[in-house]
């Protein structure tokens, strides 16, 4: 769908993107992650042809990115805004027509969306009369009205209350099911595991990690497990096939410990060791969250640059 190859973008004084390459497969929800100022927005602007890279190439469906692709992309920028004095219905139609829709078609689709999101009564309202959340909802509709193949959302959930954020999330997933590829940037990791198939992590203008979310998380497994058992707290003598990491949680009946397997041992070894000693309620592998991986990678990357 989208293939970004060796993009370099230099601004006066600093390099926003340094040799960044990405592959976004068709039908995916792709997360572009990174701390503020990492270069996410610069990359998104290049894909939207708002700016051009100094070197490198972008391919859209196998073709070199050009003006004809503009109508196939829908873009919701991080800093959102609409014409304040313009009526919302008229404004949505204008934006859709700029993306190549006819007036009638835009009107028809807009009616559908307004009904779907409970916005029917807004048509004649001016943007300045709407609340911030309502404006965002309207802008989301403007982004997807021309049914783009690629929807680019820069920090889509910022500015939404939890209820509306949920509504928008469901709409994004539905659009994805209908075949649209979604590329969204965020620094909120909760939404990533829930939504994204693949991610790329950008820090200080470099891509430092990319791949499928599940694969990345699995590759970051480090033989750590939670063990919950009942009865008196255990004491260990050093002969066990694991090390204790972190503090043990002691509750009247249930005790929890976090363990890291010793070299060459498996979870079965742990069970065999523990079963004679106590009553096991649960043994669960700890798979690092994207949040943890993000922090770890960004910190390591920052350290190595200093």
């Amino acid at each position: 769908m989208l293939s970004i190859r060796n993009i370099v973008k230099q601004y006066a004084g600093h390099r926003a993107l340094d040799d960044v390459s990405l592959e976004v497969e068709s039908g995916q929800v792709f997360g572009l992650l990174g701390p503020n100022g990492a270069g996410k927005t610069s990359l998104i602007r290049i894909i939207n042809q708002i700016t051009a890279p100094d070197s490198g190439e972008v391919f859209f469906n196998g073709e070199q990115l050009n003006q004809s692709h503009i109508d196939r992309i829908g873009y919701l920028p991080e800093e959102r805004g609409l014409y304040k004095k313009m009526e919302i219905g008229e404004q949505m139609i204008y934006l859709a027509r700029l993306k190549g829709l006819s007036r009638d078609e835009a009107q028809k689709r807009l009616k559908f969306w307004f009904e779907k999101l409970g916005m029917e009564t807004w048509w004649k309202k001016k943007i300045e009369e709407l609340s911030k959340g309502m404006q965002q909802k309207a802008q989301f509709v403007a982004t997807v009205l021309h049914e783009p193949d690629l929807i680019i959302l820069d920090e889509p959930f910022s500015g939404f209350d939890p209820v509306n954020a949920e509504v928008i999330k469901d709409e994004i997933l539905e659009l994805n099911k209908k075949g649209a590829t979604i590329l969204f940037s965020t620094h909120r990791m909760e939404s990533v595991e829930e939504l994204c198939h693949s991610i790329a992590l950008i820090n200080k203008s470099h891509k430092i990690l990319d791949g499928k979310v599940k694969a990345i998380r699995n590759s970051y497994r480090n033989d750590t497990y939670f063990v919950e058992y009942s009865g008196t707290p255990l004491s260990f003598d050093g002969a066990e096939p694991f090390q204790i990491v972190g503090d043990a949680l002691v509750d009247d009946e249930r005790n929890t410990i976090k363990i890291k397997l010793a070299e060459g041992k498996t979870s079965n070894d742990v069970l065999q060791y523990l079963i004679p000693k106590t009553h096991i309620n649960m043994l669960q592998e700890v798979i690092p969250s994207m949040h943890e991986i993000f922090i770890e990678k960004v910190n390591a990357n920052s350290l190595s640059h200093e």
Partner: protein
């Protein structure tokens, strides 16, 4: 539908539908009409002297006896009373005066009154006294005053231009009026509509819609769409002003009542109306394109209207300079080297050339000026668009001319 056309359509319709546009379109001719009414009222000296003044004349030498005539509001009373008595009496009277003509020096007359006599009143008296004295002197010298009156002439000058299509009579006054009105109209339009372009750009930037728009169209298309849209708004407003002025003057039958610059301009178009109007439209459009591109670049470089000052001044300086020169110097010497140069340099040509057009401009000068005008707006549009494409996405940066220069050289 072409995207630039869509943008032009939006820019045009949102502005024309605004209440302020309708109010301005109706109000400006009305305000001018009102202004001229007030001026006409003030200038009319019949409004000045409404009360009857009685002038007591003390003329012991009887130089002017039976010769001073009453007018509508000034009655003369040829009194035998003493100056002292009359002065005491007049002191109590609001509108009465004493005219004292000393017996030995009848040329040095004096007026006594409670309030200082108005100019029209003392003028009237002075004129009468002078006429009487010179009349008496002529008679004394043996000159027949009736014959003398017959020799008085009333010469007027009417200037005639010799052109290839024959001699044409035009009044000098009308030519000046046309020259003056043309310069004012161009000057005002460039400011009013140029500032509208700038405000439009700032609005898109501060509302942050700009990034959505430039993900659909190229910044250059957006800029041109806005400039052309606002330009059409300006032309619409002019057409409405002219039609309204014509309508009002038709209804009231009084031209003076609607004498706005627009009307003055249209009214004074001479036999060369087509040529003069053509020049006006050409310089209006090309001047607008040239300056509004610069205004757009300024709008893109700032975050709010208050920050525009530092850029506005240097940009509008040539215009202001030419305008001030136009109304003071250029239209008296439309063929001077300064006028020729100013009417050729694109930044000053729209105003300076409109001053010269009602007089005779050599075709080659007009040709050079027009070619440079077109080259000029293509150049400013090109420069402005390079600054604009960077500026619209730049926030929270203190910008100066050096910074603008850097933007100009940025790659895509």
């Amino acid at each position: 539908m072409n995207k630039v056309l869509l943008i032009i359509q939006r820019e045009y319709l949102t502005r024309v539908r605004k209440k302020s546009f309708i109010v301005m379109t109706l109000l400006v001719p009305a305000l001018f009409a009102l202004m001229y009414k007030v001026i006409a009222y003030v200038a009319d000296d019949k409004n000045d002297v409404k009360v009857t003044h009685i002038v007591h004349v003390v003329d012991s030498a009887e130089v002017y006896k039976d010769k001073i005539k009453d007018s509508q509001y000034i009655k003369f009373d040829y009194s035998k009373r003493s100056l002292k008595d009359l002065k005491a009496e007049v002191k109590e009277q609001e509108n009465d005066l004493v005219l004292y003509i000393p017996s030995y020096t009848p040329d040095k007359t004096q007026i006594f009154a409670k309030k200082k006599a108005t100019l029209s009143l003392s003028d009237n008296i002075e004129r009468q006294l002078n006429d009487i004295k010179s009349g008496t002197a002529l008679v004394k010298a043996g000159i027949d005053t009736a014959k003398l009156h017959a020799t008085k002439s009333n010469v007027t000058v009417s200037a005639t231009e010799m052109t290839e299509t024959g001699d044409q009579s035009t009044s000098i006054g009308a030519t000046y009026a046309l020259s003056f009105a043309g310069a004012i109209l161009i000057y005002m339009s460039l400011f009013i509509y140029g500032a509208q372009v700038m405000r439009g750009v700032i609005e898109e930037k501060t509302s942050r819609i700009i990034e959505v728009i430039v993900s659909s169209v190229k910044p250059f298309q957006l800029m041109m769409g806005k400039i052309i849209g606002v330009g059409l708004v300006g032309l619409t407003q002019f057409v409405l002003w002219i039609s309204l002025s014509a309508l009002v003057s038709y209804l009231t039958g009084k031209n003076a009542a609607v004498a706005s610059p627009v009307y003055t301009f249209i009214h004074n178009l001479g036999a060369n109306a087509g040529y003069e109007l053509g020049c006006f439209i050409f310089y209006w459009i090309s001047g607008f394109l040239l300056y509004s591109a610069l205004f757009a670049a300024v709008g893109s470089a700032v975050d709010s209207e208050t920050e525009t000052q530092q850029f506005m001044f240097p940009i509008t300086l040539p215009l202001l300079f030419t305008y001030i020169l136009s109304v003071s110097y250029l239209f008296q010497k439309p063929d001077s080297p300064l006028a020729v140069w100013l009417s050729i340099i694109p930044f000053t040509a729209p105003v300076a050339m409109m001053v010269r057009v009602p007089f005779v401009v050599p075709p080659w000068q007009l040709g050079v000026s027009m070619v440079l005008m077109v080259a000029g707006f293509i150049f400013t549009t090109w420069v402005a668009s390079r600054i604009y494409r960077v500026g619209i996405l730049m926030y929270g940066k203190k910008v100066n001319f050096k910074e603008l220069g850097k933007w100009f050289f940025y790659k895509e």
